[in-house]
Symmetry: D2
Amino acid sequence: MALTHSTELRVRYAETDRMGIVYYANYLVWCEVGRVEFMRALGGSYADLEAQGYGLAVAEATVRYLAPARFDDSVRVETTLVGVRSRAVIFEYVISNADTGTRLATAHTALVSIDRTGRPTALPAAFRELLEGPR
Amino acid sequence: MALTHSTELRVRYAETDRMGIVYYANYLVWCEVGRVEFMRALGGSYADLEAQGYGLAVAEATVRYLAPARFDDSVRVETTLVGVRSRAVIFEYVISNADTGTRLATAHTALVSIDRTGRPTALPAAFRELLEGPR
Amino acid sequence: MALTHSTELRVRYAETDRMGIVYYANYLVWCEVGRVEFMRALGGSYADLEAQGYGLAVAEATVRYLAPARFDDSVRVETTLVGVRSRAVIFEYVISNADTGTRLATAHTALVSIDRTGRPTALPAAFRELLEGPR
Amino acid sequence: MALTHSTELRVRYAETDRMGIVYYANYLVWCEVGRVEFMRALGGSYADLEAQGYGLAVAEATVRYLAPARFDDSVRVETTLVGVRSRAVIFEYVISNADTGTRLATAHTALVSIDRTGRPTALPAAFRELLEGPR
C-alpha cells in the first residue's frame, strides 16, 4: 500500500529567477516541505526525530521539470512513500499547479537514516512503524 | 572528446542547514555555477545567449550525495559536456573538496534550448559550434 | 489609520543554517510573503500589478533580530502599511512565534514604484487607492 | 583606524528574481561573504571561532539599495569593521559593480557574540585583539 499526502504552498518571489519562472533548485525545497508534512500527517515529526538524535540525509535526488511554476501560483506537492528499509526511506513527489492541475514536475529522493555523527544507522523502530503504516 | 572545466567556490554559511552541512538543493546552484563557467571558458557567455533571446531551461536534474560539504570548505566543481543536440545540452558534474579531493557529489542535468516565450527551439548555430568545440 | 494583515508560515529546513536557527537573510523573504499577502487581502495582487507593467523595488530594508526562529516553528508575520506616497510604499513587520507569541524580529522596508525599465514612476491610481484603504 | 577588506563574487542565476535583478535578501548573503573574508584576511577564521564554541549572531541588519545587480555581474564587497566591543562587532559594507564601479548597495550589520547555547558572551580575547588589529 502506498501512502500519499498532499500539501499546498504559494510560490514566493524569492523562488523565481530572471527567466520569470521558479529556479530549478527550489523544487527540492518543495520536496522537503512535502515529506515533512507527510511525516506530520502520519503523526510523526521530523523535528522530533532529530530531537531523538536521528536524521534523514538525502543520498539521491532527481527532478524532472515538465512545465514552469510562476510567482504567486498555488502549487500542490503530493508526496508518496515508496519504500522504507532499516536505514533508508524513499519518497516520490508529483508537483502540480493547484488551480489548473497542470503537472509541473516529478521528483524522487532517497534518504538515509543517520545518527548525530552522520553515520548510517537504523531508524528508530517506532518511527519506521509509523512510516510503514497500518497493514 | 569530452570537454571538462573546473571551477572552485567557498561554501557560504547561507548554504548550510541545521544538520551542520550544506543543504541538498544548493548543490544544484553549484552545478549552475559550473556550467556558466564552462561556457565562459569556451568563449561563450550564458548572459549573452539570453541577450540574443535564447535560454537553457533545465529539463532534468539528478544529484548523488556522497559526503557532506561544510561551511567554509573549498569546493571544486568539474563540469563535463556529455552531449549537445539541436535543442538540448547535457552536462555532468563532479563536486569535490578542493583541499582533500574527497568526492562530495556527482550530478547530471539535461537542458533544453528555449526562446523568449519558453518554447523549445534550436540553439543558435554559433553557440552550438562553440559547445561542440574543435574536432 | 494603519492597516495590518497577519499571515502564517512554517519554517523550512532549507531556511535554517548550521547555527541551528533560521539564517538572517530569510527574514526578508518572510517580509515579502507578508506584504504580498497584505496586498491580496486588500483585493490587490502584486502579480497583477506587475502584469500591468509596474513593480515595487525595495529601496531600503532593516531587520532587528530579537529571538531565533527554528525549524518547523509556526511563524506569524504581521504586516502594517505605514505610508503610501505617489512613488513609495512603506511597510513594517512584526515576526513572532505563532504558538508562543514570542517576538522574533521586527522589520521595515521602503519600496519604490518602478516601470518595466526600472525607472521610478507613480503607482497606478487604483492600486494606490486600494492601499490607502477606506477613509 | 578602520580596517576594510575587499572581496569579489560573480552574481549567480539563482540569486536573481523575475524582475531580472538580484533578489533583495541576497545582498545579506554577500555581506556574510564579506565579513567571513574580512576575518580570514586578518588571520582569523569564523569557522575556527565556531569550533571554539562561539558564534556571531546578527542582531540588526540594514541594506540601502542604490542600483540593481544583474546575473553574471562581477560584484565587489568592501567590508569595514566600524566597532568592536566585548560582546558585539559592527560591520559596514559597500557593494559595487567591480567593472563599472557603480555603487549598488550599502549595508550595516551588528553582530552579538554568543556561546553554544545562544547566550551573549564575551568574545575570546585573542579573537577580539585580532579584529581590533594593530594600534
